[in-house]
Symmetry: D2
Subunit: 284 residues, 4 copies
C-alpha cells in the first residue's frame, strides 16, 4: 500500500498539529503514523506525518494543496513516497565488508536499494560487483601530481552521469572534495569506524587501542564539508577489553559498521531523518 | 509548567488525530507532545497527547468537554496531570537493593514519588525505612495454619488505609492473593529477576545457571492474577558467561533489577503506559 | 604462526595448572594463552592452553606425550590446531540471511571456513550458492507418506559422503532425526531466533509479539536430541517496543541471528568451546 | 575462605606460567584462578594468580619466597589478599547520585568498602553522610585569592590524616592539584560522565547534545596528572535520541555513572586491575 510522507519543521507555536491533521482529512487522506518533536532549547517544531490518500488522488495536487498551507503557516517541508527504492551508488576502498553487506541486503530485499554501481579506487571490489551483477567503476588514483584531482573529476562526472538518489560511502578511504560533498548534500551517507567525535580521522582502531578504551563504536552520518563532523544518523558501540589488539578491535568493529550503516540507510529510505543544523531528528 | 496528558484508544479509523488536535485547539490548549501507535494486526489506535491549557481553564471542564467528543467518536480514554507525584507504597522481602534504590531516587528527586510506607514480611528493611524517614509496616507470616491468610488480610487492610496511587513490589517474595491484585489493577508494578517468559517462578538465577544461558535479565510488569504473566513495561538483559555462578548472576542482576524497575515506575508516573490486553504501549 | 590448543577437564584438585605448564615446557613449547575455569558447584576444573612448539616437533609425539600425563592425572582432553579451517556444510531453508552472512564472511576471510556445500529443502538458495561458487544440494521433501523419511536419509547420506568437520544450521526449519544429531554431536551448530529458553519451537517472533516482550534475542547452540535445548554457545538480545509488529521483530532479529551464529562458529573454529553436561565453557 | 592474589608483569618469554605455577605448588598453595594476557605489540606478559595457602602459612614468608623467584626471573609484581575491604574516602560535589550509590552498596554489603568519610566542597552531602553514619568533612572553597589553594591544602591534610586505601571521586567537580594526584597514584578512581576521550572537560552532556550523538557514556579511570586522561578501568554507553535534551541525557547518564563507577571500584577491590602505561588490564 503506497503512502505519502510529509516532513516539516518550523518555529514552535500552537496549532500546527491540528492544522496539518485537518489538512490531511480535507484531502481525503488517512494518517497512518504521526510523530512530532519539539526542541525546547531552539524553540523548533518537527513533524513526520505518513498518510494514505485515495487512489485517484494526484500526488502533484497533494503537493500544491499543502504548499498553500505551508506558505500560510510558514512551514518548511519535504515530501516523500513509500515504498521508496532510491537509485544508489556505493563507494568503497579496500575493506569490503560494508559494501558486501549492502549488496547482500539489497539482494535479499532487506534494504530497498536500486544498486546502480559500485565505485572504487581499488580493483578489489570488482569480483563483488560481478557476484551481485552490479556495475563496477574503477577510479584509481595514479602517481602523477594531479592524480588525486583527476580521480575526483572522474568521480564527479560518474556521479553526474548516474544521477543517484543516494551515495553511500561504505568504507571509502579518500576524503571527498567540497564540490562533490555540496552536490550530494543530505544524499550522501558515510560510515566512520569510531563513536564520533572520539577518534575522528585515520586509524580509529589504532587510536582506540592506544587510549585503552573499553568500548569501540561506529557512526553513520551525512557527509558534510568538515570531515567526520556531519550530522549523525546512527551510532552504536560494543564492549572490548585489554585482550583485543588493533586487529581484533577492527573485527569487532566490522559487525558494528555494517549494522550501523544499514540502519542509517534504512532510516533515510523510510524518510525518517530530518537534518537541523548539525543534528538529526530520526523518527522511530 | 503543568500539563494535561490524554491517553486514548479505539478501533483504528480515519480522522481521530485531526479530531483530537482540533479539540485541543478549541479549548485553547497547546499540544507539547503527541504520539500515536496503530496496531495493524488488531486494528487498534492508541494515542498519548500532552498539552498545556490557559491557567484559568478548569480541569473538570476539560474532562467534561472531552467526554462529549469521546462519546461521539467512541473513544476509550484516561486523563493524567503532570507533574505527578503519586503516593507510593513499597513492598519488599529480604533483598533490599530495589527498595534502597527507589528510596534513594525519591530522596534525590530522581523519581517523583511520595513515599507513604515500606511494607515487609521481614524485619530487615526497618533500618532502611528509618534512614529515609519513611513509615515501616512489618507484616510477618506466623507459623499458624492461617498465618498466610492473616498476613494477607493485614496487607489488604494496610493498603486500604493508605490508599496509595501506586504499589511497587520491590522484590517482594510472597505471591499476592487475587483480591489484592484486582484491587490495585494497573496500579501495582513488580520486578521479576529474569527476562520473562524465561525462568518464571522461583529462583530464576539458579534456573538460568542450570540452563547455561549467556544473558540474564530483569522484567518489570503490572501485576496480574497469573503469576509473572502481567503486561511487561520494561525489560533488559546483561551478558554473562560460564564464569558466573548463581551468586554472581544475582549480583549482575541486581543492577539490572533496580534500573528496570525504576524505568517502569518512571514511565508510569509520566503517564506513558497504556495496557491493551496483556501487552503495553510505552510511549517514549 | 601455527599453534596447538589443548582443552582439558577433570575433577578440581591442586597441581593441575603446574603439571600442564611444566609439561608444555618439557616438550619445548611456549604457552601463548592459558585460561582456566573452576566450577565450584560441580567441583570441576576446565582449561584451555594454547602453545607453540618448535617446528621440528611432531604433533603425534606431542599427543602421545600428553596422553601419558593425562592418564596419570586422570584428565579428559582434546587437541586442536590453529589456524583451523574446518570443512563446513550449511543447511538452510527459506530465510537466507544467515547462509548469506556465513558465505560472505568465508569469502572475505572473516570466518575461516572451507565451504563444501549449501544444502536446502527449498530451491531458493541455489542462486546464492552459485554466486559464492559453492555446491548446492537440493533435498526437497515430497508429498508422499515417507517423504520426510526419504529426505532425512538423503541428508544423512549427503553428510556422510561430504564428511564435514562442521554442520551449520543457518535457519534450517526441519527438525533433524536423532541419528543425524548423534552422528554430528558437538559438530553441529544451530541458530534459534529467540533468547532461549523463551519461545522455543515454531514462530518465536510471533510468540514474542503476543507476550509483549521488550527485547528479542537469538541463541546459537550445539544441536542435541532435545529440540532447542542443546548447550548454548552464544546469545544476544536487542530492545524492541510496541511499535514492532511480527515482521519488524523479525527484521531486528535477522541482524542478531547472523551475528550470534557467526560468533558461535568463530568460537568453535578457535577451539574455545568446551561442553560440560548441557552447558558450555566459552573461553575468551 | 581467604586467598592471596599475585599480579605480575614482565617482558614476554617462555616458562613464566610454569615457573609461577610450580612456585605456588612448592609453598603448598592451590591455584583457584589464573588468568594471563600477552600483549604482542609491546611484548609484555601479565598474569593474575589467585591461590589458597594452608592456614599455618605466614603471608610474609610467601612474599619473601616469591621475591626470590621474581628477582631471578626479573618479574614486577604486587600482592593482595582477599577478601579485601579497603578504607575508602568519597569526594563529592553537588550531584549526589554516585556517592549515594556507593554508600548504598557498602551498606548492603554489595561493595566491600570501609567508608571513612564523605568529603565535599558543598554542604549538600552532609545529610547523606548522616543517613549512612559516615563522617562528613566539609571543605568549602572561599572567595579569597588563595581560597582554592587553602582548600587543596586542607584536602591533602585530611587525606593524610585518614590514610585511606582508596579515594573515590564520585562526581567531585574540582580539579585536584598534581601533588594529591601523585600521592594517591593508582589509589584514586574518578567517574567522568562521557565516553572518553569524547567530551573531556566540563559539561559533557551539553557537548554531547550539541554534537547530536546517538549514545552517551560514562568512564571510570584512575586519576592521572592530565585531566580526564588517566587509565580507563570501565566504560559503558546507553542509546539516546533527538528526544533527549541536556537534562534528559544527564538523567540517562546518572544510572550509567553509578554502575560504571561501582564496577571499577569492585575490580580494584578484587585486585583485578593492572596498569601498564596509560592502559589497564582488567582481569575477569
Amino acid at each position: 500500500m503506497a503512502s505519502i510522507v510529509l516532513l516539516l519543521w518550523c518555529r514552535d507555536r500552537p496549532g500546527i498539529v491540528a492544522a496539518v491533521a485537518s489538512w490531511v482529512t480535507s484531502i481525503g487522506g488517512n494518517i497512518i503514523d504521526a510523530q512530532q518533536h519539539t526542541d525546547a532549547h531552539d524553540a523548533m517544531f518537527f513533524q513526520r506525518v505518513e498518510f494514505e490518500v485515495p487512489p485517484d488522488r494526484v500526488v502533484d495536487d497533494v503537493h500544491r494543496s499543502f504548499g498553500a498551507l505551508a506558505q500560510e503557516l510558514q512551514l518548511s517541508y519535504r515530501f516523500g513516497v513509500r515504498p521508496y527504492r532510491p537509485r544508489a551508488v556505493v563507494l568503497v576502498s579496500k575493506p569490503l565488508h560494508c559494501a558486501m553487506d549492502l549488496l547482500s541486503r539489497a539482494y535479499l530485499g532487506n534494504l530497498s536499494l536500486d544498486m546502480q554501481a559500485l565505485i572504487s579506487n581499488h580493483p578489489d571490489a570488482r569480483n563483488l560487483a560481478e557476484m551481485f551483477a552490479v556495475d563496477f567503476v574503477h577510479l584509481p588514483v595514479d602517481d602523477s601530481d594531479d592524480g588525486r584531482a583527476t580521480q575526483e573529476d572522474a568521480l564527479a562526472q560518474t556521479l553526474e552521469s548516474l544521477q543517484p538518489d543516494l551515495v553511500i560511502l561504505a568504507r571509502y578511504m579518500l576524503v571527498l572534495p567540497p564540490a562533490i560533498v555540496r552536490r550530494w548534500n543530505h544524499q550522501m551517507i558515510n560510515i566512520h569506524h569510531s563513536f564520533l567525535p572520539a577518534f575522528a580521522g585515520a586509524n580509529p582502531y589504532r587510536q582506540a587501542h592506544d587510549r585503552g578504551v573499553k568500548v569501540v563504536g561506529a557512526t553513520s552520518h551525512y557527509v558534510s564539508e568538515r570531515l567526520d563532523e556531519g550530522p549523525i544518523i546512527s551510532q552504536e558501540v560494543v564492549p572490548v577489553s585489554h585482550r583485543d589488539d588493533v586487529e581484533s578491535l577492527a573485527r569487532h568493529g566490522r559487525d558494528l559498521e555494517t549494522i550501523v550503516l544499514a540502519r542509517a540507510v534504512r532510516a533515510h529510505i523510510d524518510h525518517r531523518v530530518l537534518v537541523f543544523g548539525n543534528r538529526t531528528i530520526v523518527f522511530d
